[in-house]
Amino acid sequence: MANANDDDAKKAAEEIEKVVDEANAEMDKIEKEENEDAEAADMVREALATETQEELKDIEEDLDNVDRKVSDDQGLEKARKEL
């Protein structure tokens, strides 16, 4: 055990506390950055998903139009009348 009057020990203890303070400050910084980055990424992902879902909806609507066009193009009524 270190001597309570040992100046070197006290100095070392102070150095260690300084290291701990710096470590905590760095961990605060890392956590803050990580939280902000994760939140931003989630927001971008959500926005991207919404935008893509809209694009798929547009395709669906286009397909509905194609469906109607197919019915017209085949001219089934016309074909039956010609028979």
Binding site: E26, V70, G75, L83
Partner: protein, 295 residues
Amino acid sequence: MPPESKSDPEQAQAEAGTEQAPEAAQSETEKRFAEMDPEEAFDRVAQGVKDAATSAKKKAGGLLKRLGKWGKKKIGGGIVKGARGVEATADGFRFAKDVTKEKARKVGDFLQHETSKATWEKRYNSASEAVKKKADEYWESLTDWDSSPALTAGKLAVGATVEAGKAGARKVVETGQAMKEGVINTAEAVADWKERQIEAVQTRFETAMDNIDSRRESGLQERVDRAQEVADKLMAAQSKVEELGLADVPFFSKGKKKLDRAVKRKGGLLAKLTSRLKRVQQRRAGRTRVPQEGE
């Protein structure tokens, strides 16, 4: 309509003398026919065959109608449903359980199979055969009337109408074939188009997602490295405490508690960052290969 007595081949055959005396049957037939105006006989025979042709055309028309409904349902239902089954979520691009790109692409092949040439030849033969059968019935019932001049006209009418019926049936087939080609081409075009559209959306989506993850990965890696440096410093500090025997000295009790809390915190932070980094890396590895710039 044809005379009732001649619309039933069996009756006509019986009248023609299979079971009765030939002379008597022929005499009765000729007698009835002789009473008829030749033009009326012609018209009646022709009308009978026309009815048969109409019936055959209706039958073929029904087939077309069913094919049309079926094709529309396949295209309108199957492929559109395919597009509805695709979802983009924050977790990724997802296809519904029972709807896949592969399934949509196969619609064209399915149509090709279902409306095959063999099927349509069968339909043509069926329609054509129906006309021929009915005409043959009339033809047979008139076999014994050769002596009548009106029969010559009647037979010509039968022959002409059979040909007309066949032409009608052929038209059915041609129309059906054209429609089939149209359905198949459209279905294939729609399936291809849908696949290209969805693939383009998926590629854009996954590229963008990968860019986000790539940025996340490098950021996380940098923070993990920094957290590891912090961990190394704290471990060095712990070693120094051990080395100097500071753990139990009163003047360092507060410092020791602070160090222990920082060590514990460091462990939690490293675990959280490492876990997130691993998840991002796994997500990137599992993602469909994203085209690189310039590709």
